[in-house]
């Protein structure tokens, strides 16, 4: 079996991502369109939540990807710290703007959904608070990359920040289980296993939307990592040029 580490070679990564990117992008667009159009136009109102239930098709996939993007950055950061593969550090860097956008979407759609359902835009609930902290960690992570000129030092420090922030990524996922209090319900899909099933009419478009957001993340991650690899090469060439 071919080793996964061959993709740590920037040339091999560029070659493979080059042919993967169009397919993943098209699949992402199709899944998001299917999930969101189906969810928005062809699902009925919930008997308690009314039409606000349609926000689930945006809020849940975005929240899922906000956490998973950070966990992906954690894995890439560990690979950088242990094996010093530049592509993994650059992949973590490329994932951050996607992750911060997903977190912001989850926070905004959550607030907009919370206002009519809970009577407030915001509450210092364990899950909401840990999500807000995760958002701040994303901003800090991006700012740290920008602030340090030497790319290897930047990769080292951002990797450490990523390890620390992972506590909040996991906390935002499991906060409801840990504290068992606050306004936010448990994970939407595990509620299915707890005897209050989400109707199949909502679950199917939600699966499409979740798959679409995951594929969109992969497409943007591949595109972003390709850009970072090129930017890194450009920086190396300019340094060589300056040194004569």
């Amino acid at each position: 079996m071919a080793s996964i580490w061959r993709y740590a070679n920037p040339r091999k990564f560029m070659e493979t991502s080059g042919w993967l990117l169009p397919g993943v992008s098209i699949l992402a667009a199709l899944c998001i369109a299917t999930g969101v159009i189906w969810g928005f136009f062809f699902t009925g109102e919930d008997y308690r939540q009314g039409s606000t239930v349609k926000i689930v098709f945006l809020h849940v996939p975005a929240a899922l990807m906000a956490i998973n993007a950070w966990l992906m950055m954690l894995v890439a950061s560990l690979i950088w710290l242990i094996r010093r593969h530049h592509v993994s550090a650059l992949a973590a860097k490329a994932a951050a703007p996607v992750g911060v956008t997903m977190t912001l979407i989850a926070l905004i759609t959550g607030a907009v959904w919370g206002q009519p359902m809970w009577g407030t835009w915001w509450a210092w609930d364990p899950r909401l608070t840990s999500f807000l902290i995760l958002f701040l960690f994303y901003l800090g992570y991006i700012a740290l990359w920008q602030a340090i000129e030497d790319p290897d030092t930047a990769a080292d420090l951002t990797s450490v920040l990523c390890l620390v922030g992972s506590v909040f990524a996991l906390l935002s996922r499991y906060a409801v289980n840990f504290w068992n209090q606050g306004l936010h319900q448990g994970a939407s899909l595990s509620v299915v296993d707890e005897g209050a099933p989400m109707d199949i009419a909502y679950r199917l478009p939600l699966y499409f939307a979740m798959a679409g957001f995951a594929l969109l993340f992969i497409a943007l991650l591949l595109a972003g990592t390709r850009t970072e690899i090129r930017a890194r090469r450009m920086q190396a060439l300019l340094t060589r040029e300056r040194m004569g």
Partner: protein, 50 residues
């Protein structure tokens, strides 16, 4: 074609509009940066090749 959203039309509309705008902005950022970096690298490499 437009579904009946009842009293929560503004909230649902706002959620979809905000998500659409943020995703469009993110995709535009990734594509514009990709194009800019690629062009700059091509220029640099062709200059060095001369």
């Amino acid at each position: 074609m437009m579904p009946e959203l009842g009293p929560y039309a503004a909230e649902v509309g706002l959620a979809y509009a905000a998500t659409g705008a943020l995703l469009a902005g993110l995709i535009a950022y990734v594509l514009i940066r990709a194009r800019r970096v690629r062009r700059a690298l091509d220029e640099l490499e062709s200059r060095r090749g001369k």
